[in-house]
Structure formats: C-alpha cells, structure tokens
Symmetry: C2
Subunit: 199 residues, 2 copies
Amino acid sequence: MRDNIRAAAVQLFAEYGYHAAPLRDIARMAGIQAASIYYHYANKEALLVEIMETHMRHLNANLERILREQHDPLKRLYEAIANHIRLHTSYKSEFFIIDTEIRALEGENRRYILSLRDHYESLLQELLQDGMEQGTFRLSDIKVTSYAIIAMCTEVSTWFRPSGRLSVQQVIDMYSQMITQGLLSLSPGAQSLEESERT
Amino acid sequence: MRDNIRAAAVQLFAEYGYHAAPLRDIARMAGIQAASIYYHYANKEALLVEIMETHMRHLNANLERILREQHDPLKRLYEAIANHIRLHTSYKSEFFIIDTEIRALEGENRRYILSLRDHYESLLQELLQDGMEQGTFRLSDIKVTSYAIIAMCTEVSTWFRPSGRLSVQQVIDMYSQMITQGLLSLSPGAQSLEESERT
DNA sequence: GTCTATATGAAGATAGAC
DNA sequence: GTCTATCTTCATATAGAC
C-alpha cells in the first residue's frame, strides 16, 4: 500500500503540482481514505521528500559509478549523458517533480534535497574539469557548462514519449553529439561569426 | 495600482508558486485588501495569464524581428540566443513563472499560453531548418535541437544573479559558443568516441 | 491498517457600504 | 477604488472505533 500511495502521489504531483494535488485524490487513487495515508507517511511533505530522495540518489549513485569505472573524458561524458537521459525518460514524472517542486519543501527537507542536487552538479563538474585538464574539452566556464548540460538533458523528461517517434538511445546519441560537437557543420574556426559576415 | 498588484504577484508566484501564494499576501504587498484586487483583475488566474502573456509576446516579437531583419543563419542564431538570455535575465521571475506554472492554467487560458510557446518553438525551428538547408548547420533533428537550445537558455533564469560573477553578455557568448561549437577542443571528427578508445 | 467523524484553518471570491 | 464583513469550499491533519 505504501507503494500504491507513492505511485498515486507521483502521478498527481506531476500532473497538477504538489500544492494542487489533494491528499483525498491521492488516497482515492490508491483505493483508501485520506486519513489512512497518515499510517504510512507522517504528512504530505514526507511523501514528496521520499519521491525526490529516491531518484536523486539513484542518479548520483550511477554517476559515481561511471566516474569510478571510466577514465576517458569523452566516454565519461557520454555515459553521464546516457545515465541522465535514461533515468529522466524511465522516471519521467518523478524527475519532473524533482525539477519543479523543490520550492514546495521547507527547512531541513529542502536543504537535504538541494544537497543531493549540488552533489550531482559537483560530480559533473569534476568530470568536465578533468576533461579540460586533459585537453579533451575546450576550456570553458565549468559551472555554466554543467548547468547547460543538465538543463538540456533534464528537459527531455517534459517532451519524451515512450511511444513517440524517437527511441531513448536515439535521444541519447543526439544530445551527446549536440553537447560535444555543437551545431556548426564546419570544423571549429573554419567559419566564425566574423568570417561569415563577408559572405 | 494594477502594476503594483502584478509586481507583487510576480514576486510571490516565483518564490512560492502560484497555488502556494495567497491573494491576501499579494494584496498586503501591494498595500491593499484582498477584495480590492478583484476591482483590477477578474480572478487570480487572470493575474497569472497576464504575466505570462506579456512576456511571451515580447519574446516572440523580438525573435520575429530578428528573422525579418537578419538572414545569415549564424547571426540569426546568435541574436536568437542573445534575445532569449537577455529577456530571461532581465525578467527572471516572470520567465521562471512561465516555465513552471503553465499547468496551473485551465482550459482556454492554458491553450492560449501554450500556443504562444508553440509559436516561439516554430520560429526557432524555422531558423534551424533554414540554416541546415544552407549548409551552415549540421543536419540534425530540428525539433529535438530546438528543445535543447530553449531548455539550456531558459534555465539561465534560475541561476543568474545580476550582481554575480558573470555579465549577461558573457553568458550570451558562452551559450552561443557551446551551442555552435560544442565541448570538444578538437575539430569534429578528429577525435571520435571510437578513436579515443585506442588511447 | 483502515475506517468514520471531525477539528482547524485558510483559501478564493462576492456583497454592499463609503 | 478601496474597504469590512462574510460566504462557501476545501485543505491537511488528528482522534478513536473496529
């Protein structure tokens, strides 16, 4: 029943938002009365925290494993992107909640979830830092680059449909190429903004 | 007073979320009673719609002007990125609301705001399509590429601080470089994933 | 573990005076 | 244009029976 409640909460939090999803609706979807939820969870916020914690820890554990097992910067980056997109498409609703409801948390809960997110960012930044030191990656602002990568890969959870046109693997490959090689069709420097002004 | 109310709403919607921001607090911040808001706005949702509409139209109008006045794909893309980031840093809270509270809208209001967002996406997709046909941009999935660009540039509104380390112009240049050239330090093809496995 | 019944508070919105 | 007073509804949460 605990799992039923959590599954119902995931669905309703994602669809209407945390504050707009009444406990009564979560209970009805789980097949019990609202009061019965309090036997399983201390309050509504505990439900939200558990959803967020579970999947943030999952995301972090995977990236830690990748950094431990893999040392080539390019392969590390590919695996990091793949991990991020695989989880954000497998647990669409859960990550959408993580992405939009952190401000619904208060005090200690908020600090805890933010610390998990900060840890994820620092792991990715470590990956980028190492890749720049090894000369694989262009020198760039590490924080900003990490935010950009996370933002674009996270947003996949808002539009991806399992039954849609693209497979998860195709999306991973597209994002990996976009992040490493960019949009330009020519080699870097062959056509800069200044040069193109002459054409 | 209408402007005072809207300004208060922007601040509280952005900080606590639409549903968690009581009209009474918005009224207090504007220096009036809650009931007085109804002289200026039909209801709470009308306030949200006006905030979203104003800035989405602004964003769209700018991009339409860029496409009209500029025809080089690379310059168009740079201007599109600059427009997006300038507005998302100048009106941080407003765009953060647009980004997170669309699901708080109902029926016609929701459809209307989504149509403005769809229009923006289609303008960017037109830019990308043209750039690929001209050979300036690598061939890639246009929808996915547009989502990725929008996502990374939009998220700037969540971390950018006017008093922070980076100027708006620096952020624009970083994102522009990231989007056009990617992360790799070598020319495309010079170091593929397969080749790097040999090192 | 789940129920019914209920406490308690706060939300959005309206009526009508000034 | 703004106020006070209030309607109505609905929220989270608790108490105690079964």
